[in-house]
């Protein structure tokens, strides 16, 4: 299969190939940590080592700091490596003036990043969990997004990149599980990017950092240690606003992003067994998104299913659905299906019911194809 995240999810039961430790941790004992340590000691020089998503991000940050002396990494606990260890080794290598801890103050952190970026620097900001981005919502929506527009292009904060881990992890509960991407897709001036795998994460993060617009980069924390694949050692970038057909098919188009793709991939696999051929698309950039690739696919298959973890109402799936109905109304053979999180707060003990798991997707594939 085209996508090789090295991970298989059956519903929400994980059969992990790397490490089962899904705890948020100051010092995890996973294999991923060894990779980071090796990186720090410069032992990992050959191209294309197997890396997990966390290490791939770490590598991208190393490259970003190395290639641009005007780039900075900061956030809560980042100089210690961050709670997920994504920034491990950076402070040691690049010094405390370029990689530093901030106090606990998200609004301040992002505002500070905007100011830093306004003077032609690259501010790579970490918000510890996507759930904690809301104290910074005003800075992002009102300051970052509109700086260029309202100053008639005199100023901008294009050097700002906000990295933040999002999504379900099994038992994160209300404030360590949310997927807030849709809020930011409602804000022209901001780009929203979500990678699905280590190789993608490295290339997309480097593009996001170097993009001339402020970018929010949502990292699927579920995959930090679980997703492992070959990641080229060198500096490379993957294009933003370009979706990718990661599996070709003829009966139905499936669109998703980030960690959800591995659930969808499983559903495709099962549908295949029942004779349904699915085309799976990774949107990668949600704002501005690649309508053409999705449109071309739906013109071919005549059916569309979108899946994301965020609640269905007002989720980004709604936007995709509306746009595709506009463009492909006569070609559609069934209503667009959205298999998403339920319209409830992210629950603690009910997570298995809440999440758009493989079976929900599989049922929807079948009912859409048999409509």
């Amino acid at each position: 299969m085209a996508m090789s995240t090295g991970l298989r999810r059956c519903g929400r039961r994980l059969v992990a190939s790397v490490c089962n430790n899904r705890e948020v941790s100051f010092s995890t004992t996973c294999q991923g940590n060894n990779v980071i340590q090796q990186l720090q000691h410069g032992q990992l020089q050959e191209t294309g080592k197997s890396l997990n998503l966390c290490s791939a991000i770490n590598q991208a940050l190393h490259i970003a700091l190395e290639t641009d002396p005007r780039s900075y990494v900061f956030g809560e606990d980042v100089s210690f490596g961050g709670v997920f260890r994504c920034t491990a080794g950076l402070a040691e290598k690049f010094g405390k003036k370029r990689v530093f801890n901030t106090p606990l103050c998200e609004q301040g952190i992002v505002g500070f990043g905007i100011g830093l970026a306004a003077m032609d620097n690259r501010a790579i900001v970490e918000i510890q969990f996507a759930d904690y981005i809301f104290p910074a919502f005003d800075q992002i929506v009102n300051e970052a997004a509109k700086f260029r527009y309202r100053s008639g292009n005199q100023f901008n904060c294009g050097g700002l990149t906000i990295r933040t881990p999002y999504g379900a992890v099994g038992h994160g509960g209300h404030y360590h599980s949310q997927s807030p991407e849709a809020f930011f897709c409602h804000v022209p001036g901001i780009k929203v990017v979500v990678p699905r795998s280590p190789r993608e994460a490295k290339g997309l993060l480097l593009s996001s950092i170097r993009d001339q617009n402020p970018v929010i980069f949502f990292e699927p924390k579920w995959l930090y240690r679980l997703a492992v694949e070959e990641v080229p050692e060198h500096d490379y970038m993957l294009p933003l606003s370009e979706a990718e057909v990661i599996q070709e098919g003829s009966d139905i188009t499936l669109v998703g992003w980030g960690a959800q793709l591995s659930v969808m991939e499983q559903a495709c696999f099962d549908a295949e067994k029942e004779g349904i051929s699915c085309e799976l698309i990774d949107l990668k950039t949600l704002m501005p998104w690649d309508k053409e690739t999705v449109e071309a696919s739906v013109r071919k298959t005549g059916r569309l299913l979108i899946s994301h973890e965020a609640p269905v109402t007002g989720g980004f799936g709604a936007e995709i659905s509306a746009s595709i109905v506009e463009r492909c109304f006569l070609r559609l053979e069934a209503p667009v299906a959205r298999i998403c999180g339920l319209d409830t707060p992210f629950p603690l003990v009910f997570e298995p019911f809440y999440v758009p798991n493989k079976n929900k997707i599989l049922d929807a594939i079948k009912s859409t194809v048999n409509y």
Partner: protein, 430 residues
């Protein structure tokens, strides 16, 4: 100042010597309510107000209840740790052991008509408000008998009938809410106040200052309690705060600190760096290991005194900040071993010299209110209470699946799910 000040002022004899005792030696455990006066060995430090008196009124019964309540909390948190390791508690879980004196001392000074709001480290505050062990363990394990019916988990304990407003996950967000509670208290004109608790890390959130300004502007009976356990996750206070004298951070708002470590005077103004950190550690160790015989922030009596003072003050003159110098023994949460950013010596030093439960135990023994064996028996009984509560909690069922859709909105405006596997949702308007 305080380092030298502490050297001269802290002495073991102060702790052991009753200032005024109006009881006779007796057996068994004293239940007397005859007044007993105990002096805190270290004075309070105040900002823009006169400090409370060092002389604390108590009685044998209160001291024994302090012991019992804190030992129960301690046992509960240790048991939660085991349950977590046994995977019976999942997700995020923040333990309070080490900080018990704050919860217990605060309750001793106020009534259940006063309200309390705190962050996610909320198990013991809940217990202090009259919550039961069964409710705690059930909630931790996501069961119906939990204080939030299994829907909240460790970070979201509440108890409406005794004014406990929870249990909040977003750092700092509970403080403005606390000021809103204070406004309501003021309106009610019933001489009640709101206590808003937050950590040293939370103290750097902007909304704290917004809340303070509003409270001061309208003279709200709001008491902001900074539980300074010296770390916000892995970040030592001095790394995050230019001025770690949290009781002074309100500027125009008065503040009281239950102990002045001399931290800010000696260390603010220094830029954090490696050599600084080293010096800081050495200083901390010398203070914790050698000097801290009696420490108010870990002393339920001092906390009680400060909270009583603050309540009186707030009712008359508006908001006030209390800084509680305290310490958490566990890591930040269950995935943090708690030993990467602080030394094991530091932790064991605090345990040996400042432990809130041990402090009260010593006090009880020194005043001959109970024997060592009697206190041990109490602990044994508490251990059994905890074990029984856990066994009972395990019997409690998980919430009904339909509960996923309740309480999103008020009944009748609810979101409903339907369809074969409940994957379709609709909002119902009244």
């Amino acid at each position: 100042m305080a380092l030298s000040h502490l050297k001269s002022s802290s002495s073991r004899s102060n702790l052991l010597k009753p200032l005024a005792t109006a009881f006779s030696l007796r057996r068994p455990i004293s239940t007397s309510t005859d007044p007993l006066t105990i002096e805190t060995s270290v004075p309070f430090t105040a900002h823009k107000c006169d400090p409370p008196s060092r002389t604390v009124e108590t009685n044998p019964q209160e001291l024994l209840s302090f012991f019992r309540d804190m030992a129960r909390m301690r046992r509960m948190e240790i048991a939660a740790d085991s349950l977590y390791k046994a995977k019976l508690i999942r997700g995020f879980c923040h333990l309070y052991d080490g900080q018990e004196a704050v919860a217990v001392g605060m309750e001793a000074a106020i009534t259940k008509k006063d309200s309390i709001i705190t962050a996610y480290r909320d198990h013991c505050t809940f217990l202090g408000r009259g919550g039961t062990l069964l409710e705690v363990f059930s909630e931790l394990m996501g069961r119906q008998a939990g204080c939030s019916h299994g829907k909240g988990g460790s970070m979201h304990f509440y108890k409406k009938d005794s004014g406990f407003y929870g249990g909040h996950g977003i750092v700092g967000a509970q403080v403005p809410l606390g000021c809103g509670l204070a406004f309501a208290h003021k309106y009610n004109k019933d001489d009640t106040v709101a206590f808003a608790l937050y950590g040293d890390g939370a103290a750097n959130q902007g909304q704290l200052f917004e809340a303070l300004n509003i409270s001061a502007l309208w003279d709200l009976p709001a008491i902001l309690v900074c539980e300074n356990n010296h770390y916000g996750m892995g970040t030592a206070e001095w790394r995050a705060a230019k001025n770690p004298s949290y009781y002074k951070r309100g500027d125009y708002v008065p503040g009281v600190k239950t102990l002045d470590l001399g931290f800010s005077e000696e260390f603010s103004g220094h830029l954090p760096g490696d050599s600084f950190e080293y010096a800081f550690r050495a200083w901390l160790e010398s203070v914790f290991l050698n000097e801290m015989k009696i420490v108010d922030g870990m002393d339920a009596l001092a906390v009680k005194q400060a909270c009583r003072f603050a309540k009186d003050y707030a009712l008359k003159s508006g908001p006030i900040i209390l800084e509680m110098d305290t310490y958490r023994y566990h890591g930040h949460s269950m995935s943090d071993p708690g030993s990467t950013y602080r030394t094991r010596d530091e932790i064991s030093g605090v345990r040996q010299e400042r432990d809130p439960v041990e402090r009260i135990r010593k006090l009880i023994l020194a005043h001959d209110l109970a024997t060592e064996k009697e206190l041990k028996d109490i602990e044994k009984e508490l251990r059994k209470q905890v074990d029984d509560a856990i066994a009972q909690a395990k019997e409690s069922p998980m919430p009904e699946p339909s509960e996923l859709f309740t309480n999103v909105y008020v009944k009748g405006m609810g979101v409903e799910a339907y369809g074969a596997d409940r994957k379709e949702v609709r909002a119902v308007l009244p």
